[in-house]
């Protein structure tokens, strides 16, 4: 049967390549869309640049050290710029206009109150449109809070120890809780956050895997219409040979497609999707699930034209719900739950985990197991359907 299988596969591959649409759908469209999405949505503001507004109503040492630290931090060089704004209202306006990505507001008398051990509050204004700027501003403010807490504690301790109020400040600063030094520790951008270019790249890979692998099962219906499938089935070869021969090609082309999208994302945006072995495992499990689902479609419809339509609808619905088109966290709650019904949702979750954490295969064992279960379930139903429809 090996030779018969090879004959079917070779013919399928040749037909797909001759057709030309195979290359377009497997390579050109997903890579182009992933690149365009990456440039458009991952582009100007996040993840490459952010402007943070600074409203300094205090005029004291804290705002000054923020300026100093942001300017001095190696990690933020070229990517984060501070812009001075006169008041909170102006900051809100600039934020809404998209001129800045976030703002930090120091109220009047902030530094003095902290110096007196009374603590103080800094306000951070963020916008959903620039998550990156929000992250940076948040990191800066976290740092300020830590210093403020340490400062407040030290001052209170000194006062309790009986040091006269006007000497406390000098004492505390001399003894190490050195002023509001805002040394930013590490890269505030790293950890827990995925480059949007990776997000859209993996989304396109997940979406197009359906089309690429589905085309092979669709061609089974084309051959039924053509009568060549019956000619094969009447010949001395096992019934699974035509289906398997095509499935192998569909699977292979889909793997090439997702890997090409992955490679192009890495090359164009320089952003890693995470541990290569783990990424490959997730992508393989996704393609298997997509193959089983499109095979089930082919088993249930009558004509290749119907298969086209149904595969199109299922692919886009799964892509939308599963976060291949719109990031999962920007979907409303119920839809985020619906994502768990799609392979795309599990694939997106797993790939986000890998890109964000740099973890290995073990970290995504759960989503991969779910993807394989979807593949087995849909595949089993598909085989039953194909048997009944005498395609197998």
């Amino acid at each position: 049967m090996g030779r018969a299988l090879l004959t079917v596969s070779a013919h399928e591959l040749r037909t797909r390549l001759r057709d030309g649409t195979a290359i377009v759908i497997a390579l050109i469209v997903p890579v182009t869309l992933a690149t365009l999405f990456g440039l458009a949505l991952g582009g100007d503001d996040p993840p490459l640049r952010a402007t943070i507004g600074l409203v300094d109503l205090d005029g004291g040492e804290f705002p000054a050290s923020v300026r100093r630290e942001v300017a001095g931090a190696e990690e933020l060089k070229g990517s984060v710029t501070l812009r001075d704004l006169p008041d909170g209202g102006e900051a809100r306006r600039a934020l809404d206009a998209g001129e800045i990505g976030a703002a930090i507001v120091f109220p009047a008398g902030f530094s003095a109150r902290v110096g007196a051990g009374e603590g103080g509050d800094v306000t951070v204004l963020t916008s959903a449109g620039s998550p990156l700027a929000g992250v940076v501003a948040g990191a800066v403010v976290d740092r300020i809070s830590a210093v403020v807490d340490a400062r407040t504690l030290a001052v209170r301790a000194a006062l309790l120890a009986g040091v006269p109020g006007d000497e406390v400040k000098e004492l505390v600063e001399r003894n190490g809780a050195a002023g509001p030094a805002l040394a930013l520790t590490g890269d505030p951008l790293a950890g827990g956050k995925v480059d949007l270019a990776v997000y859209y790249g993996s989304g396109m890979a997940a979406l197009f895997a359906f089309f690429v692998v589905g085309a092979s099962f669709r061609s089974l219906l084309t051959e039924r219409k053509l009568g060549t499938l019956d000619r094969m089935r009447a010949g001395p070869l096992a019934a699974w040979v035509p289906v398997a021969g095509k499935a192998v090609v569909g699977f292979g082309l889909a793997m090439v497609s997702v890997c090409a999208t992955w490679a192009s994302g890495t090359l164009i945006f320089g952003s890693s999707w995470g541990d290569p072995l783990a990424v490959l495992t997730v992508l393989t499990a996704h393609v298997l699930a997509a193959a089983a689902i499109t095979m089930l479609v082919a088993a249930r419809v009558r004509t290749d034209a119907q298969a086209d339509g149904v595969i199109m609808v299922i692919s886009f619905v799964a892509a939308f719900l599963g976060g291949s088109l719109v990031p999962l966290h920007s979907l409303p709650g119920p839809l985020q739950t619906a994502a768990l019904l799609t392979p795309n949702g599990w694939t997106a979750t797993a790939l986000a985990e890998l890109a964000g954490s740099g973890a290995g295969v073990a970290a995504v064992a759960g989503p991969v197991a779910v993807l394989l279960a979807i593949a087995l379930g849909a595949g089993g139903l598909a085989v039953l359907g194909l048997r009944k429809g005498m395609l197998l």
């Binding site: 030779r3 018969a4 004959t7 079917v8 013919h11 037909t15 001759r18 053509l226 009568g227 060549t228 019956d230 000619r231 094969m232 089935r233 009447a234 010949g235 001395p236 070869l237 096992a238 005498m390």
Partner: protein
């Protein structure tokens, strides 16, 4: 004659689609070198029967033996002995004739070594050796039909099963196809030939089964079948006037055993001593219509069909 293992035999084949009985208790047996015809109008159940014989359709009842091998139990061994020519052209239009044959040859397990030679041999057999490298989609209907048959011959089957192989074919290609089939039979191939063209079945087949509404109503040699009609002749009349009323009168004429409308203004009658009955037929329609043409034909399978089923093969 010593019992010879039939190249193809079936017993009690049946298939229903819901309430419709498509095939009912069909049995037949074909020996090597025999050409067996399955003659019946559209919808009689020929394609359904063939689909079960080649393993494309699971029968509701009955069994199929190919050279003694049970098709249900050992499908691959049984199928290796069958060449199946589908009713529609089942080939890849974007490939050339030769590429189509090569594909199916490889798929059907022809050894790599002999493949090209066997493809050439088959191309010779179907008379397309010089046109083999054109795209199939650009072939004429007759050429496509010939490749359709050729693709079933590649793996040297012992039984060739053809489902209406000459539909939509020009007379020249039709003759080439029938000549080719006769040569194959002469070389010992068993043939199952279905058609609703009586002339073809009469020419190619030495044994014929008449199928109607899923049942085989009679089978035998051409001579045996024709003798079922007895001494009756077929009379074809062309009428002018109230044909329906005239038809009613005609079927009541003494000696007319069967009558069928064959067209807008034509009828076919089965009548004992047809030629002597002509005058009474002409007077019978008087007042309703006039007979503008009359022809008395020797009994043939068409007449047998009319005799057995009361209808015509073609409508």
């Amino acid at each position: 004659m010593a019992a010879m293992t039939a190249a193809l035999a079936c017993r009690g084949l049946g298939k229903r689609y819901g309430d419709l009985v498509a095939v009912d208790d069909v049995g037949l047996s074909i020996t090597p070198g025999q050409a067996y015809g399955l003659l019946g109008p559209n919808g009689a159940g020929k394609t359904t029967t063939i689909s079960m014989l080649v393993g494309l359709l699971r029968p509701d009842a009955g069994e199929v033996l190919v050279g003694g091998v049970d098709l249900a139990r050992e499908p691959l061994r049984a199928k290796a002995r069958i060449g199946y020519v589908p009713q529609e052209i089942a080939l890849y239009p974007e490939l050339t004739g030769r590429e189509n044959l090569r594909f199916f040859g490889r798929l059907f397990g022809l050894p790599r070594r002999g493949l090209a030679a066997r493809v050439d041999e088959v191309l010779d057999l179907i008379g397309l050796a010089d046109r083999a490298d054109g795209k199939l989609g650009a072939y004429s209907g007759g050429m496509k039909r010939r490749v359709n048959i050729g693709a079933a011959l590649l793996h040297r089957p012992q039984v060739l099963i053809l489902d209406e192989p000459t539909v939509g074919v020009d007379p020249q290609s039709r003759k080439a196809i029938l000549d080719g089939l006769e040569r194959l039979v002469a070389d010992g191939m068993a043939l199952l030939y279905t058609s609703h063209y009586m002339e073809e079945v009469e020419r190619v087949c030495d044994r014929v089964a008449i199928i109607d509404h899923g049942r085989i109503v009679a089978d035998g040699t051409r001579r045996e079948l024709v003798s079922l009609v007895g001494g009756a002749d077929t009379v074809e009349l062309v009428l002018d006037g109230d044909v329906a009323a005239a038809f009613g009168k005609l079927r009541a004429v003494e000696g007319v055993s069967e009558a069928a409308r064959t067209g807008e203004s034509s009828v076919r009658l089965l009548a004992d001593g047809g030629r002597y009955l002509l005058p009474s037929l002409i007077t019978a329609v008087e007042g309703h219509a006039t007979v503008t043409a009359a022809q008395v034909v020797e009994p043939d399978l068409e007449a047998t069909f009319l005799h057995l089923t009361g209808t015509t093969l073609r409508d």
